[in-house]
Symmetry: C2
Subunit: 726 residues, 2 copies
């Protein structure tokens, strides 16, 4: 069934999926919980539906750069030729309905002028798409740019970025995602899909007061949404859940595990119902290998891991340096121009090379695939033994033909190009994911290594390392597997994922057989990359943007105490506190004016310093403003009482202001002797923003999340002031 039929049926399938999802939800808990449960999982078929629509639109628009379908202009190349010649496999891509621009406009399909016209129109379309995308982002939703994963990590750790998950962001990100991917830029849609899914989750949780009013509950929904996002991006529901657990989420209770799994599964099935890849498969890159791997192959796999780690380090360093330059120099003022220039360069260099001209996911798909007997690709141009009958599977290793050597050169050029251009692309003011470009770099390198090993084994099967497992006529090396291992290594080097990465790859191949090579590569690449710097690309971007993010992965093992970190330090002015029954409205207003703290501890009296509670600055300002406007007799020298029962005031004194209701009576405290290891643990696990420090019941100081972050940087021998905060 050509994919477009799926599009027509979206609503039919959606209804079916909703029915299933409703049934499941009802069965999950006793009946009285049904309503609560109905609200607890955002309709997870929405990310699936969006992903399907994006896939179809990208297919069409990518092909639009090369030509158009005469029978129906909304058909992609593949859909256009599907109906024409379903049987002939070799010429699947050639049919009279599909016309290149040169054929349509000047009636020429070959020759220099046709080539130049196609080249020119390819660049023009790319520029048009990119310009549209960057303009839409700039005008309507500035938050739609980037991959969104650093920001979602920060949001899930407790920071609030208003509007980041809004409806406009959702809409614009979806539309511009299609445009930028179609424009041929070196970026993917997988990361942004996580952002899109989180926007969906946020939208649905905003419909119910239970979620919109409780940040904690909303974050649980967002964790599930992130899982659904990866699930539809790769068709890997379990990998999606583990990605959400390992990479995105901050606090992951069991309830969230179950919801994430559910959301990921329904999203994946919705995507499969839409069937955008036209192969009834859930996964983006479905592969089937026929040969096991051998111990000796671990060596090239580990080499690929080293390559992945080096690429990760190189990419993170260069990309962060470039992004910092963009932030600090004039460059940042011309985002549209930047996008246009990068798109133009990408299109100009990409068109002549067949491996960069096509969409990156098609490229990866081809690199992952094992060469079957019917494969017409240049990469499978092996010299066949004429005496051999050709079975479909299990073809022995053969000598490479001219096409393979040619492809190797083109792939090498593509590799260099991809490595350089991706550094400049990621971080521009357009939606851009990093999964696909990283995987492409790894897959190209892996395929080159794989073909190399294969040819080495074919021509030198008497070498001692090959003798045991690679007899002539045996199918012993699978270059596609090397491509997959390389892709995992490069993705691991950039993101520092391990378990979720291996599981995503495992779901692509569907067999435990290849887990060891994948793990070996993922772990090597993580090790190599970690040796040059602990941060993955997402953490690096979090730092670059100065979000207050307390990473759960760092271990804090220093022996400092709370007293070393708390403010005020020795010699600093004393802590700004409120007293429970002796400060006037004017005193408090002065304090608020003179400081910019988010809140103030309330003590019994300045002498005893015994802690009563904590008052938020915002609520204090609001309460005083309201009291001055509405409450009779509250003037500047009214006394503010935080006590339960304010004492009787003499008749001539001003009316008191009772503010106990805005007081947080259970502020979090630790003693000054508490080890910072414990304090960091408490901040992480309880998601605190500040914590008060006491000694024998007396208030001594305060530790905020920023103090903790600065202290951790200091202990790690970094300059604490290098940690910027927005």
């Amino acid at each position: 069934m050509p994919p477009v039929y799926g599009l027509i049926h979206i609503y039919g399938f959606s209804v079916r999926t909703t029915f299933i999802s409703l049934t499941f939800k009802c069965l999950d808990f006793p009946l009285r919980h049904i309503l609560r449960v109905l609200m607890s999982v955002p309709p997870p078929h929405l990310p699936g539906t969006l992903a399907g629509v994006i896939d179809l639109a990208v297919d069409w628009m990518t092909d639009l750069k090369e030509g158009v379908c005469l029978s129906a202009f909304w058909y992609s190349h593949e859909q256009c030729c599907w109906t024409f010649n379903e049987t002939s496999f070799e010429d699947r891509d050639k049919c009279p309905q599909w016309q290149k621009w040169s054929e349509l406009l000047v009636n020429q399909s070959e020759g220099a002028s046709a080539y130049i016209l196609n080249y020119f129109l390819y660049i023009l379309w790319a520029l048009l798409f990119a310009f549209l995308a960057v303009s839409l982002v700039r005008v309507f939703a500035p938050y739609a740019c980037g991959s969104g994963i650093p920001e979602i990590k920060t949001i899930l750790s407790g920071f609030i970025i208003r509007g980041y998950l809004g409806k406009w962001t959702l809409l614009i990100k979806t539309v511009t995602l299609v445009l930028v991917v179609s424009s041929g830029l070196s970026l993917g849609k997988e990361g942004p899909l996580v952002h899109v899914a989180c926007c969906c989750g946020n939208f649905f949780s905003s419909l119910f007061s239970k979620y919109s009013k409780n940040e904690g509950k909303r974050r649980e929904v967002l964790s599930a949404a992130a899982a659904a996002g990866v699930s539809v991006a790769f068709g890997a529901p379990i990998g999606g859940v583990l990605f959400s657990l390992e990479e995105v989420s901050y606090y992951f209770p069991l309830k969230t595990l179950w919801r994430s799994f559910f959301a990921a599964l329904v999203a994946a099935f919705t995507l499969r119902s839409i069937n955008p890849f036209g192969n009834s498969r859930l996964v983006l890159f479905y592969v089937e290998y026929h040969t096991p791997w051998y111990m000796a192959e671990l060596f090239p796999f580990i080499l690929l891991g080293v390559f992945g780690g080096l690429w990760g380090t190189l990419f993170i360093r260069c990309n962060i340096a470039w992004c910092r330059r963009r932030k600090t120099t004039k460059l940042g003022k011309y985002p549209v121009l930047e996008v246009i220039v990068v798109t133009a360069i990408t299109a100009i260099i990409a068109f002549p090379n067949p491996y960069t001209r096509r969409s990156t996911s098609e490229l990866i798909s081809e690199l992952f695939n094992d060469c079957g007997a019917l494969e017409s690709s240049q990469l499978c141009d092996y010299i066949n033994d004429p005496n051999m009958t050709r079975p479909v599977d299990d073809i022995p290793d053969r000598p490479a033909g001219i096409g393979v050597y040619m492809a190797m050169w083109q792939l090498a050029l593509a590799l260099v190009f991809k490595i350089i251009i991706t550094i400049f692309t990621f971080g521009m003011k357009i939606p851009s994911g990093l999964f696909i470009p990283s995987m492409a770099v790894g897959a190209i390198a892996g395929r080159i290594v794989g073909i190399g090993v294969e040819q080495l084994a074919y021509h030198h099967h008497d070498w001692i390392i090959f003798r045991n497992w690679c007899r002539p006529g045996a199918d012993c090396v699978t270059p596609g597997l090397y491509a997959m291992v390389g892709a995992a290594a490069c993705l691991g080097g950039v993101t520092r994922m391990t378990v979720s990465l291996v599981v995503i790859m495992f779901e692509l191949t569907g067999g435990l057989e290849y887990i060891v090579p994948l793990m070996a590569a993922a772990v090597t690449s993580k090790w190599v990359a970690d040796a040059f710097g602990k941060e993955g690309i997402y953490e690096a971007h979090i730092h670059l943007n100065g979000y207050p993010f307390l990473d759960v992965k760092d271990e804090f093992t220093h022996r400092t105490l709370a007293t070393d970190v708390m403010r005020p330090r020795r010699g600093e002015p004393p802590l700004s506190v409120l007293t429970q029954d002796s400060m006037t409205v004017e005193d408090v207003e002065t304090l608020i004016k003179e400081t910019d703290y988010n809140g103030f501890p309330v003590v019994v009296s300045k002498d005893s310093e015994r802690l009563i509670g904590f008052a938020q600055r915002r609520e204090l300002i609001l309460a005083i403003k309201n009291a001055r406007q509405r409450q009779d007799g509250v003037v500047s020298n009214s006394i503010i009482y935080f006590t339960e029962e304010p004492p009787e005031v003499p008749a001539n004194s001003p009316h008191p202001l009772k503010l106990r209701r805005i007081l947080n009576l259970s502020p979090f405290t630790v003693t000054d002797h508490t080890p910072m290891e414990t304090v960091v643990d408490i901040f992480r696990k309880l998601g605190l923003r500040q914590c008060l420090v006491t000694r024998s019941g007396r208030l001594l100081g305060i530790i905020t999340k920023k103090d903790v972050l600065r202290h951790m940087a200091q202990m790690a021998n970094q300059d604490p002031e290098s940690i910027m905060f927005n």
Copy 2:
């Protein structure tokens, strides 16, 4: 390769796996961490090796109950006949080397007297194995009994059961596990394998002071070991990790995720190297189905879910009632007799029925399997269309033959027998797992339903529900899938697992195709079982044994405050506290004698009640004892100082005792206004045992974990005194 060859190679393979594991560990982190990492993961091939040895021994001893191999007595039936006739598939089980006891002893293979002799020896062997097992457990390692999962859950939540994970427990549990499984009792080895793996983890962490001294770090190793245990039990590494996350672990940081995954993977590969199932497969029940499922089949799947939920409820209620009876009446005094009686009953009833005579995992394996063309089993005795050619796969639905009907009756009897006997078996003083019996109950029920639906569809394919998808000659119903769904439902009903259950089953089938049926059944069964009682079997046993376990899954939503829960209550005598500089040794000794608290808060003075720290009872006793013995001048009326610098004492007064070093200077405090929701959260996330309650710096009271548990029971309308504590 017959499995026994694997046994010979265990050490060869182990070395190989160790090599891989070392390589991985080295690559995980920068080189300077190598040593630390080497200690961080317990050599995970040990559980895998143990599991392989257990599998081989169980195979041999189970067959020993029926007969013996003449060529080598240590061969199991299958191994014995392997070399004899590898080609003939139908008579695989018949060979002259393998002799039943009757053939060997009285030279008769058929006839009533031979049957009775075999019957008698079957019972005798079973009794011998069971007697040996229960005696070994009683004499050497009382903790080796049961499944161990409730205790491991409790240990991971912070409670310490000394000796529970000791070397003796490991050794005896491994040996007796082989004995009890071979004795034919209705129990499995999967749960106890988790305990065995945790013992291994504990053993290795006891070798390194970093782990043996830090309870938290040790628990992380145990979490990883639990994952390895499930991984080898089912050959499902990812399922193992999720089981550890969902069911066993209390606190699961990311580091543990990665280690668990690694441990689970290496354990699984070690098991595969040993190859105990002789099929090169990682999984216990490998199945391959050829038919998709249809929407209409969801109805029987959900029915199976309901059955699973009912079975779960019935089992938990009856088993707990029986175990309580065992605890409280005379029954508990005769554990050996109890085991002997149950074994005798099991053997007597099991022998005549072919489905209960064999080992339970073989039974499940047969029930899961789809009937191929070559299947000789009674369950596959369908009437074949003589005109049809017989392809290996994809056989259309056929009418059932006499064998199938016969098998249905025998299976129904086996179902009733298994349901009843399992209730009495689980909880006896022998190692006993619940996974396999639960799955057997579900698989039998599922297969019966599956065959029913299949025959219904064959004979009534014109019915409206079948018309769309089940034309004559089509293979539309797979009874094996029903067995698998039923097994998942029953296991889910008993343990209340969801995600990990579905993932384990997914790893058995290896395809996302059947996730929806499995999820539907698992969720239905959880819902039905939850409607009758929230507790799974493990939580129920934790309650029964009175372990202080604070379940992370329960939500606490009541609006009570810390002040409502803390001790002392209104009207009770005041809190027993120490003062920092005014109590004598005698005062403290009296306080220790009169109370049985685990520790005492230390305050500035009884008047001010400002909290200084917390002193453990044990350390207090030890310190005073040491001081009296060794320190000159410390007498009953010496004053104990907890202050930093004790004041100068007059020359004639007794020598003071300085105890600041035993003082915990950072006890955890909350204010009396803190909502209990927050307090429960803090107890869970930080794994506290007690927490002090203050108001404006004054100590008011204390909340212990037991107070929290009692309060939660009270809020859930249970009698708080029903929660016993050891």
